[in-house]
Each structure stands twice: as structure tokens, then as C-alpha cells.
Amino acid sequence: MSKYYVNKFLFTIDRDPEWVASYKEDPRGTVDRWEKQIGRWLNVTEQTSWLEFTPEEREALSTHDYVSLFENGAHFFLNLTLFIALFDEEYAAAHGPLAFQTEMARQLGHWTGRDYPSVAM
């Protein structure tokens, strides 16, 4: 897994409300647009020549698959905060406070008692 590039996606989307809205509405299109506009950029002049997603990473990000991201070592804090941004409000409205957070825990329940995937790179 290109953990750094996946984490870069989570980090840069989470800190910008326009990217958060875009990622919620159109995840697949946003992944493509992000790569062109942000992913490979080091600054306005310089770009990396080698960072890219694997097909599995691209699919996980394009389908909001936070379970797969956790299982492949995306950083737990970034994985949590971005998906809270996407889903907390609607879950809370339907099911009460912290409903998305508890749903996320339920989805990851099969990891209870096991060593979690490493977030080290």
C-alpha cells in the first residue's frame, strides 16, 4: 500500500471544506481531480514523479471504504476524522450523538483482540 499517498489524500481533503464536500458528493471523481491538482504537487513548481495509488487504494478511496483503509494501514486518526466529516451529521440526525463513531467501531469489530494493521511506513 502507498500509505503515504493515501494518508496525504486523507490529510489534504480533511483540512479543506471544499474538498470535503466534493469527496462526499463524488468520491471517484474527487480522487481523480485530487491527483491532478494536489496529489503529486510538492509546491507550485515542483511535482513528485513517483507517487501513485495502487488499484486497490484507488477503489477504497473511491467507495468511502474506511474499513479497507484501516486494514491496509491508513493512519487511524486521519481515517477517523475525515469520515466523521462526511457522515457524523447525518448519522447523528438519524440515530443520535456519536452514532457514526459507534458504527465505525462496529464495522471494525472483527479486529477486536487482534494486533491492528501497522500505520508505520
Partner: protein, 329 residues
């Protein structure tokens, strides 16, 4: 020389501001108890009459990033902005501007380098909730200059627990040697057992209440040997994937000193994590000790160590025994 008048080590919880400032009918049921304990704890800092705050925390991927992530960093600025967009979004924490203390930042940076702690330095550091939460809880006036120090508790490989403690000892020496007549308080926040983004997050209790029991005893009795013998990166991960924030509390114990008992200890089971509030007075005065005693009476806190043998923890020993029994069956 400067006088270190208080050392505060506590957890930081970004939900506190919203929980205690929302309209009465929207407050969660635990808000009143939480506020009472926090406001009592605040009095232990007020009694220290600080002029400057040395503040230890950790950036939660708000500014510091994997392209160049420092193990330890100090801010050296005249002013600091605080609160990132995604913290306002998630926690409702407002924006702040805090004064810095360039003189102490420079002294701290140079003296720590002299003690072989090679801190990175930032001249454009924005403060996140690891430092704004304790401002909100223990100094809501936000009227004192700060010296922020950030540690790496998120990006493995992490510095060892022993290194965090040693940095705390070095910071103590540097504060004691600061050529000033100012009173300095050191405030650091971190975590007890904590899970974020994993299967144990937001449960009925924190992920490992018995780790919390040991941690509070070790910190409040000044038993650094027990921590260094028992706490490793692996054991912290076993207590919850974000438990490594405990090392910032260990750092604060380094500032307080080995074998030094805390003068004020409180904690609160806040469903998915346990809050903890601890204060040491390195140069105790009668006024400080009386303030701590008054605060403890209000909060039902302790003016001395709390031990893991305290009956508070019995329910969790029962749960662990039941879990172990079920696993064996």
C-alpha cells in the same frame, strides 16, 4: 531565576467546550459533573499565580505532516493562532490568538540543544486542541504568554517513554535556570487509554480502565521506575491505539521530578475515555496547598496519590476476570 510554581498534567478532551457551553437543554448528562471537576482543577493553577505557561502537546495532523514530521518541536513566536478549520467543524472550538514568550522560547531551545535534545523549531506554528483545550479548561482568560512544545505521539517510530521522561527532566532544569523573576507553570496534556478510529472507540468506558488505574497511581506517586518497567509502545497499543499520548503525561512527571507525589489528583469516567487532572507544586506554599484542598473538596478529588488498589477500579477487575474466564471456556 524563574520559579516553577506548578506542573499540571491532564487529559485533553475536545468535546469539553461544546458540552459546557451549549444551551442547558442540549448539554449531555455528564456535562455538569465534568464542568464542576474542571473548574475545581482550574483553581490549582490559579493558586500558582503564573506569568508564563510552558505548554506540552501534540499536533493531531493539523499542521505537522508526514513530509517532515519532527519528534520534538518548540515554537518561537510572538503570537500564535489557534484552532484549525476541522477542529471548529468537529468540536466547535473557537479561534484564539495567544501571546508567545520569545525570551523563554529562545532560552528553552538553546538550553535543550545544549542538553542533546535536538528540537525542531517553528516560526509559524499554529496551535491545535492539545494546547487550546487546557487553555479553555484551566486558563480561559487566555491572557498569559506561552511556550509551546510539541511531541510525536502519532507517527511511528516514536521516541521511547524513557526519552519523553528525560525531556521532562531537561525542561525542568531549563525552567529553573531561566534568568527571570517570572513565575512559570508547565501544563501538558495527553491521554490515558484511548482508542480512535478502531473497534474499541466510543465504548461504554475507555478501552483499558486498568491501565488507567496503574497510570494514575504511577504518575501520582512519582513512580517513574514502574512506568519505565511496564510501559512500552506495544503495551500502550494494547491499551488502545491512541494511548501513546500517555507519554506526554510521563513527560510532565519528568518536570515534576522522580518520587514526587502529586498535590492534587482527580479523574472522571467519561464513557469512551477516562479524564485525569493532576497538579504538583514544586515549591509548595500554604496558599497553594489550601487551594488544592478546597478544590479537592469541590471536585471530590484527592490531595495526594490515588492507588490502583482503590475500590474505584474493582468493577473493571471483575470485568477483566469475566472476559478472561469466557476466553478460557
Amino acid at each position: 531565576m524563574a520559579e516553577l510554581t506548578a506542573v499540571l498534567a491532564s487529559t485533553h478532551h475536545p468535546f469539553y467546550y461544546k458540552a459546557t457551553t451549549s444551551p442547558e437543554d442540549q448539554r449531555p448528562p455528564y456535562a455538569a459533573d465534568w464542568q464542576r471537576k474542571v473548574e475545581a482543577y482550574r483553581a490549582t493553577l490559579t493558586a500558582a499565580e503564573p506569568d508564563i505557561l510552558v505548554m506540552v502537546g501534540a499536533d493531531h495532523f493539523h499542521q505537522l505532516w508526514l513530509d517532515n514530521y519532527p519528534q520534538f518541536l518548540i515554537g518561537k513566536q510572538e503570537r500564535y493562532d489557534a484552532t484549525f478549520y476541522n477542529e471548529e467543524r468537529e468540536f466547535g472550538i473557537p479561534k484564539y490568538t495567544l501571546a508567545g514568550d520569545i525570551e523563554l522560547s529562545r532560552h528553552m531551545h538553546e538550553e535543550l540543544l545544549g542538553k542533546d535534545f535536538d528540537l525542531s523549531v517553528s516560526h509559524e506554528l499554529k496551535i491545535d486542541h492539545s494546547i487550546i483545550c487546557p487553555i479553555i479548561t484551566v486558563r480561559p482568560e487566555a491572557d498569559l504568554p506561552i511556550v509551546p512544545i510539541y511531541t510525536n505521539i502519532f507517527v511511528p517510530p516514536l521516541p521511547s517513554p524513557r526519552r519523553f521522561y528525560a525531556l521532562g527532566r531537561a525542561i525542568r532544569e531549563v525552567i529553573d535556570s531561566f534568568p527571570s523573576d517570572k513565575k512559570v507553570a508547565a501544563i501538558g496534556t495527553g491521554h490515558l487509554s484511548l482508542e480512535l478510529g478502531g473497534p474499541r472507540q466510543f465504548g461504554e468506558h475507555g478501552p483499558d480502565p486498568l491501565f488507567d488505574a496503574d497510570a494514575i497511581e504511577w504518575l501520582s506517586t512519582g513512580n517513574v521506575d514502574a512506568i519505565l518497567d511496564n510501559v512500552t509502545h506495544e503495551s500502550m497499543a494494547g491499551a488502545g491505539n491512541a494511548t501513546h499520548g500517555f507519554m506526554d503525561l510521563l513527560l510532565m512527571m519528568g518536570i515534576a521530578g522522580p518520587g514526587v507525589q502529586a498535590d492534587y489528583v482527580d479523574h472522571l469516567d467519561l464513557f469512551h475515555t477516562r479524564e485525569m487532572y493532576m497538579t504538583w507544586y514544586p515549591n509548595k506554599t500554604q496558599d497553594q496547598l489550601e487551594a488544592a484542598a478546597r478544590a479537592a473538596k469541590t471536585a471530590q478529588a484527592s490531595i495526594g496519590p490515588i492507588y490502583a488498589s482503590d475500590p474505584t477500579w474493582d468493577q473493571f477487575r471483575g470485568e477483566r476476570a469475566a472476559t478472561a474466564g469466557a476466553a478460557e471456556a
